[in-house]
Assembly symmetry: C2
Homo-oligomer: 275 residues x 2
């Protein structure tokens, strides 16, 4: 690893101020990190290295992991500090056994306003709109599926949780760092803006009238999903019409990320995005 | 709740032998429970009450939960003991804060041999074959999706983990207790038995030649999925041919439960199971 030694800083004291952002990770997960987020694990670190939307501010590695992630580290700006410590120190910093031993603090390169994100979409586009997703696992799963089907933009309404929460990023397998997303206000307003931009809107609901397989998908299509339990707001469903995934009756419906995965598959197939 | 008082036993000592099966739940999760399992939460308890494959041996409730689950309790055999205790006692029994406060020990009514399970399938049938699924969340998700698309039988090979593990049942939202499953030996042998029984076999693989939307689905169809990472064995894929879900290249593939959900949707639609 040519020239890398200069960037590696050995940390021996868990109270070292240079690792302050990594301290008591779980407790700090519960508060906003001022636009910053924690990326963990080699796969996510690799996605962060490749992201043109986010950058790393610093990296913390367990000493045994340095060699294994050498190629990933090479992909980051050489100015970014790489802090290395032993098992005891990293566990004391994180506040729990940090098995992965690969952590980074990241932040967005810039904040794109919602209107700009919509305006910048290509003529053929697939958008996923999420309403009030409050479970970080589900939001991570939604991003993973959005990545698989080439979603151009994930629109989050004001009631959605943070896709940059540590667990969301992990469940998304880093896709929260690569699939573009923008946060709008109310889901009605988001739907109206997409409609004005020429998007056909598909509102998913377990009690939908039309099966998803029979819905026409134009070159610009937006799929709307709501939180498990309540789903999308009644007024919006009335206005757009409900689309369902045909399935067994009288059951707890599919997990919202799985339902979105099936619907995205149908729309992506209809748009002939992948063959 | 007429006549229920006779079945309610108040527990005040965490060391009471009558709650032995509920003691240190997490530690005991790690060992086989001799055919028994722990069901937790109201939704899962309701599924257990409705199951014709499993029965409850005893039920443990936090005192504040008794009224809320009264109708579910009524559905169980009146001989089944219902043990009730306060917050401090239930936490001491479980070994961690047992927020749900609704637990049961269940077991299978009978053990159906694998061959009988296959022989008992209807003329129109959808079977899901799972190879080496080692993650309990994924197996739970597979059962949830199997339930949604009316799967008649889940075949588990010898390398699959236990769908009756506490977390699998929870993630399945109780479907592990309602969707019939049977454990066979090797996945090759399972595939051969299904083929002999007239099933068309669809082997899912990220590098599949044929897109799932173009696969013909006969009245008897079995979908085969393998563990994330390795997938299905090479020999089996060579023999059966690979079927893929069209998606973005160069990505970590879809989660196995989500991929199965999409494929089951396609097969169920092809079979016209739900409209």
């Amino acid at each position: 690893m040519t020239g890398q030694s200069r960037r590696i800083v050995r940390i021996t004291d868990p109270d070292d101020e240079r690792v302050a952002e990594f301290r008591h990770i779980r407790e700090r997960d519960l508060v906003r990190r001022d636009g910053r987020f924690i990326a963990e694990g080699t796969v996510v670190l690799r996605m962060l290295a490749q992201s043109d939307r986010f950058l790393a501010e610093k990296i913390l590695l367990l000493e045994g992991r340095v060699e294994g992630v050498a190629d990933v580290i090479e992909a980051f700006d050489p100015e970014i500090p790489v802090l290395v410590c032993n098992r005891e120190t990293i566990d004391a910093i994180a506040g729990f056994p940090m098995h992965r031993g690969v952590l980074a603090v990241g932040k967005a390169r810039r904040n794109e306003p919602f209107g700009e994100a919509i305006a910048g979409l290509p003529p053929h586009a697939l958008v996923l709109v999420c309403h009030a997703i409050s479970n970080h696992d589900n939001l991570g799963g939604l991003f993973r599926n959005a990545a698989a089907f080439g979603v151009d933009l994930v629109c989050l309404d004001a009631e959605c949780c943070d896709p940059l929460y540590r667990k969301s990023i992990r469940v998304s397998v880093g896709s929260a760092l690569t699939v573009p997303f923008a946060r709008g206000g109310g889901v009605d307003d988001i739907a109206a803006q997409l409609s004005d931009a020429g998007f056909g809107l598909i509102a998913l609901s377990p009690d939908g009238e039309r099966p998803i397989g029979e819905v026409d998908t134009g070159p610009r299509t937006a799929l709307l999903v709501g939180t498990e339990g309540q789903g999308l707001p009644y007024n919006l469903l009335e206005k757009l019409g409900r689309v369902r995934i045909p399935q067994a009756k009288d059951l707890d419906s599919l997990n919202v990320a799985t339902a979105a995965g099936i619907a995205l598959y149908c729309v992506a197939t209809g748009q002939k995005r992948f063959t």
